[in-house]
């Protein structure tokens, strides 16, 4: 299959205060349409940097990112972004937040209303239609944020630790919901996480990253059939394997931290 996202030889160097941080080094990655990819690694290994480069927020220093045949220049609604901090507009009601992208596209009012109702139903948000984000729990806010990008029918979803701030029960609910949406709409998803368990639960492929410079350490396909049972033997075998990989990077992180306490 033709890759939908084609990342080749991507480098990203941040220079702050005379010091250079190589956040990404020689990243090569191909993502097929409909694939669910998790970027896994300890904090500071460049996951967000890579995701932001794909999103078009912060272009790589070198290398190319090609999505659906054209090079990424700017952010755009073809790559829906979900942030850990939800990033809902607090001055808009739930309904308005979800409708915002469609209003930008200048869709007819009736169509917007219909679409928003559909999404409110799908994400069980009907009762919160006229509420402001401040009145919602974290889980509800992230549902709204997901509804907001789904409204745009983006073929690709980019998610940066979207469930990182949620309690474990809410987190599992939203993971299941996301898998349902992914299956139903056949999205391509790149999902950043530092939770090994979350990555095994969700992904087709887990891309493990190294810490400084951020490179791809291992690209692991997950063959376990869904729904995956976190207490199963295969799940735990994979978990152990990944834990070793991540632990090596975590150790490097800690060592570098001792040498350069100002980092991060």
């Amino acid at each position: 299959m033709q890759p939908q996202i084609h990342i080749s030889k991507v480098n990203k160097v941040f220079s702050t205060g005379g010091r250079e941080v190589v956040a990404l080094d020689d990243i090569n990655l191909e993502v097929s349409p409909g694939e669910f990819i998790c970027l896994l690694g300890p904090s500071g290994c460049g996951k967000s940097t890579l995701l932001n480069a794909i999103a078009g927020f912060s272009p790589p220093t070198a290398g190319s990112i090609i999505v659906d045949g054209s090079a990424v220049q700017t952010p755009g609604p073809d790559r829906g972004m979900v942030f850990q901090e939800y990033a809902l507009f607090p001055w808009m009601t739930v309904e308005k937040n979800i409708a915002f992208g469609l209003e930008i596209k200048k869709q007819p009012k009736a169509r917007i209303k219909e679409k928003v109702s559909e999404l409110l139903d799908m994400l069980k948000l009907q009762d919160f239609r006229d509420r402001y984000p401040k009145d919602l729990s974290g889980g509800m806010r992230q549902r709204v944020a997901i509804a907001r990008v789904l409204a745009l029918d983006s073929p690709i979803l980019l998610m940066d630790e979207p469930f990182g701030a949620l309690d474990s029960l809410t987190r599992r609910n939203l993971q299941d919901e996301l898998l349902r949406i992914w299956t139903e709409f056949q999205k391509t998803i790149i999902f950043v996480t530092h939770s090994i368990e979350e990555s095994i639960y969700l992904a087709d492929r887990i891309v493990v990253m190294t810490y400084r410079p951020g490179t791809i350490k291992r690209d692991v396909s997950v063959a376990i059939p869904r729904p995956r049972d976190p207490s199963s033997v295969e799940f735990n075998d994979l978990k152990k394997e990944l834990a070793l990989l991540v632990m090596e990077e975590q150790t490097r992180h800690n060592q570098q931290e001792i040498r350069m306490p100002a980092a991060d």
């Binding site: 999103a55 078009g56 927020f57 700017t74 952010p75 755009g76 609604p77 790559r79 829906g80 972004m81 942030f83 901090e85 990033a87 809902l88 507009f89 607090p90 001055w91 808009m92 915002f100 992208g101 930008i104 596209k105 402001y132 984000p133 401040k134 907001r148 990008v149 745009l152």
Partner: protein, 276 residues
């Protein structure tokens, strides 16, 4: 029942200090311990306030409608004149400051272009513009409104700039990834995100405008509350001075609670009213 009693008690408690002070004041004046010309008794002030409030002429249906007559008292006309200046000056000042502030906050080049001038003009108290405003505009409403415009302009401007600069980058990124154009970004993201700051500026601005109007009326205009209390001094009408001051206070209170309501309405989405 208990609740009502508790509240009654609380409001009685709040009245305690004012009532004691009024009683002392009344005692001092009626027993001629202080000259009533210097400090008239509270009862005299209230009587004067009432007189100042009421229409000066008897009701004549052939001359005007009943409502028009009812509001024809000197105080009502003065309060109206002062309010008119505050509102017009404030609106003009805000209408100038808001777009400039939005542009300066959003665009570094425009900021650098205007900032030096603003830094020079801003520390000049609006009152210091009085001589120039009379020279330029003569007497009456124009110089007064000019001064109020200046008084309202800078607080709104500075807060709008700060508001736009403090817009959380995450909203801008979210809007960009949803495909927002420059205009949409400006009107539907930056502006609403900056409203808490802008409203703080507006509140300071209208407070300044209210101070300026009283001073401006004492110097450049011959009506309005500020003019009236200065006029009363010429005649040694201390009761009228205090009655006028009381009205000024009431008007200030009304403006403030009006701003408060506007604030609560426009910021009903906000986590905590005021800062956060």
């Amino acid at each position: 029942m208990k609740n009502i009693l508790a509240r009654l008690y609380a409001s009685l408690q709040g009245l305690l200090v004012p009532v004691i002070l009024l009683a002392i004041w009344q005692y001092l004046s009626t027993h001629a311990i202080v000259n009533p010309q210097i400090l008239p008794a509270p009862t005299a002030v209230i009587a004067k306030w009432w007189e100042y409030l009421l229409p000066t002429e008897a009701f004549d249906p052939s001359q005007s409608g009943y409502l028009a007559w009812l509001f024809s008292g000197e105080m009502i006309r003065d309060a109206y004149a002062s309010m008119y200046r505050v509102v017009v000056g404030f609106l003009v000042g805000t209408a100038l400051a808001l777009p400039l502030g939005l542009l300066m906050g959003a665009n570094e080049r425009i900021y650098k272009l205007f900032n030096p001038l603003i830094q020079i003009l801003r520390p000049i108290p609006p009152i210091a513009f009085i001589p120039l405003s009379i020279l330029w505009f003569g007497l009456g409403n124009p110089p007064a409104i000019f001064l109020i415009v200046i008084g309202a302009f800078f607080p709104v401007l500075m807060n709008t700039i700060a508001g736009v600069r403090h817009v959380d980058g995450i909203y801008i990124r979210a809007a960009r990834s949803l495909g927002a154009s420059q205009t949409t970004m400006f009107l539907r993201v930056m502006l609403p995100a900056a409203t808490p700051y802008i409203l703080t500026g507006a509140r300071i601005g209208i407070g300044t405008a209210f101070i300026v109007v009283i001073v401006a009326e004492m110097i450049a205009v011959n009506n309005g509350l500020g003019y009236r209390i200065l006029e009363a001094r010429e005649f040694f009408w201390s009761d009228k001075i205090i009655a006028g001051m009381f009205t000024i206070g009431l008007l200030g209170l009304a403006i403030d609670s009006g701003m408060n309501r506007l604030n609560n309405y426009l910021l009903k989405w906000h986590r905590g009213i005021e800062n956060n």
